[in-house]
């Protein structure tokens, strides 16, 4: 089912791929991406750190959007996982965002997926402990 949902995202014109990462930045599932799991995990880790940093200051992050290597990246945050989608064109972003919202809702309702996530639970705040950060990252988080 999860692959089917990611396929729906991937079938949107201009989408380069999508993946789901756990709170430990592990890649749970991916479709249509040429990046390696290590690269995707690294990207997830950065996104999780941003989410955790805002969480520390009492702010909830629902979505991160950024532009990287000529790609629009939409990172949707749930309490237990991240859904990250890559798109080459801005003209499809509205359709993509709607589809992502529906996908997030379906993923959250999926019992098998929820059960799997429970067994891979992790505290995101762990990701922003000083010893796990580079100096510039620590400074940025302090500035928040």
């Amino acid at each position: 089912m999860i692959t089917g949902l990611l396929d729906e995202l991937n079938n949107i014109e201009g989408v380069d791929g999508a993946f789901i990462a756990s709170n430990r930045a592990e890649i749970i599932n991916k479709v249509g991406l040429s990046l390696t799991d290590d690269q995707l995990s690294n990207l997830s880790l950065r996104a999780l750190r941003i989410v955790a940093a805002f969480h520390k200051t009492g702010k909830k992050t629902v979505e991160l959007e950024f532009y990287w290597q000529n790609l629009y990246i939409i990172c949707k945050n749930s309490d237990n996982f991240l859904l990250i989608t890559f798109c080459r064109t801005s003209s499809m972003l509205a359709l993509l965002r709607i589809t992502i919202n529906v996908t997030m809702a379906k993923l959250s309702e999926d019992k098998k997926f929820s059960k799997w996530l429970k067994s891979h639970k992790a505290d995101r705040d762990f990701l922003i402990r000083k010893e796990s950060l580079e100096e510039n990252e620590a400074k940025l988080i302090e500035a928040l």
Partner: protein, 162 residues
């Protein structure tokens, strides 16, 4: 007298890079370079403006400059008539929205169309996702918002809009 190239610098105009002259032969502004990188013989001026986050007026001005410099050539005009949504679609949308947010639905729909400067009578299918997203922003209940988006995605699939 304006040439075909100049007359077709409109939202639906499609251009390609001219073969006689290279962009490196003339000095170009950054906006002109940005447009040159987007021209692929299939995107319309409107689509390129959207991709580069330019206003349509800015894009048309820049395209006109590139035509004058002889760097781009007109290919064709996208047939916009074919991609207008049928009026019955909006009746369906309004019905679905009414089920979700109640009798304010027609007003929300009209307000959203107005704020996006769009008209039901000449509504291009490619703008539909933008409209759905804007209407969704008016639905405060997150679960109802998702219900609405899910129903609309279904309708868009039926219409083969993507």
């Amino acid at each position: 007298m304006p040439t075909d190239n100049q007359m077709n610098v409109t939202e639906s105009g499609i251009f390609t890079i001219a073969t006689g002259k290279s962009p490196s032969d003339v000095s170009l502004r950054s906006a002109e370079w940005a447009i040159i990188t987007q021209i692929d013989g299939s995107k319309t001026i409107g689509e390129i403006a959207l991709a580069l986050a330019m206003t349509l007026e800015e894009a048309i001005d820049t395209f006109s400059g590139l035509v004058e410099k002889g760097l781009i050539t007109f290919i064709s005009t996208e047939n916009l008539e074919e991609s207008y949504l049928p009026p019955v679609f909006f009746e369906n949308l309004e019905d679905q929205l009414t089920k979700i947010i109640g009798p304010v639905a027609p007003f929300i729909l009209e307000d959203t169309l107005w704020s996006l400067d769009l008209k039901k009578e000449k509504f291009k299918a490619e703008k539909l996702a933008e409209l759905i997203e804007a209407i969704s922003d008016e639905i405060m209940d997150d679960s109802k918002k998702i219900d609405f988006q899910q129903i609309m995605l279904g309708l868009m699939k039926e219409l083969n809009v993507n």
